[in-house]
């Protein structure tokens, strides 16, 4: 199964995601920001990093690059798309998921392990977890505070994917740190599943995010 990893100038988790996707049994390959035709790929991952130096707002400039048109086409064809950290910020800026990930409440860059609750298992990426299962994955961001004008809609449509358990480090609305589109195929999460994909890293709880793509 071919999975594309989107690279922008400033992406820095691309190789970690590549490794995790290989561990999950997929055949990953890199895609550069100016590629429009993504028809070769069955699923896409936008990795973390600091695309375009986070200028203007995290994800704002990546959101207007040619590859985004290819991503939108893939979404129309019901291919799963996962955005991690900066990838999540980009998907929110594009409007493929609702809301925005903005400056942390304490205005600091937070890098730590967190406990997370899997709120829905209807996305390909969370399909191998149990609903309300608590998993361990790290966060590393300065702009991860989730905000939406319409939280009721997220509840009604089952669009909340992950929330922080027992703390709310960045001040997100209802401690939400992962959301999906209405279909549940585009998923944006601030925590890093690839950094929790092998027990030697401290946890392999995140590996199922990538295995779920194969299962889907």
């Amino acid at each position: 199964m071919k999975v594309g990893i989107i690279r922008f100038p400033g992406s820095n988790c691309d190789r970690d995601v590549f490794h995790a996707l290989e561990l999950a049994g997929t055949e990953p390959d890199y895609i550069w920001w100016n590629q429009r035709d993504l028809s070769d790929f069955e699923a896409l991952v936008i990795p973390g990093g600091f695309s375009y130096g986070d200028y203007l707002r995290a994800g704002a400039i990546a959101a207007i690059t040619p590859v985004i048109e290819g991503i939108k086409e893939s979404v129309k064809e019901n291919k799963p798309v996962l955005g991690i950290c900066n990838g999540a910020q980009i998907l929110a800026e594009v409007g493929l998921v609702p809301g925005v990930f903005t400056v942390n409440q304490n205005a600091k860059f937070i890098c730590k392990w967190t406990e997370l609750k899997v709120k829905t298992v209807r996305t390909p990426f969370t399909s191998m977890y149990k609903k309300n299962e608590v998993i361990k994955m790290p966060i590393a961001h300065a702009e991860g505070r989730y905000f939406t004008e319409n939280i009721e809609k997220l509840h009604e449509n089952d669009q909340i994917v992950l929330s922080f358990e027992s703390e709310n480090p960045n001040g997100s609305t209802e401690a939400i740190t992962g959301v999906c589109d209405e279909e549940g195929l585009v998923c944006a999460v601030m925590p890093h599943p690839e950094r929790a994909s092998e027990s030697i890293l401290g946890s392999d709880d995140g590996l199922k995010f990538f295995k779920g793509i194969v299962n889907y």
Partner: protein, 83 residues
């Protein structure tokens, strides 16, 4: 006609502004007691337009598509003809 453009972008009323809160706390460390601290971003450029209105429409579109995130931002556009 050439115009100077100034776009002022601020967070919508009621949105948390961690940068402003940090500045206010830092000022307090220096014994300056201030209230209602706010920060905003200004983007300046010049552009050609057939009229002030068409220039403004053009800049408004830029705000919607890139310069602002309509979920959290309000913006003001100031347009001045260059003599």
């Amino acid at each position: 006609m050439k115009y100077d453009v100034e776009v002022k972008i601020n967070l919508k009323k009621g949105m948390l502004n961690p940068e402003a809160a940090t500045i206010q706390r830092a000022l307090a460390l220096l014994d300056y007691r201030v209230e209602n601290t706010d920060t905003m971003k200004t983007i300046k450029f010049s552009l050609d337009g057939s009229s002030e209105n068409s220039a403004r429409e053009n800049v408004d579109e830029m705000c919607q598509r890139l310069l602002c995130n309509p979920v959290i931002h309000d913006y003001e556009i100031k347009i001045t003809p260059i003599e």
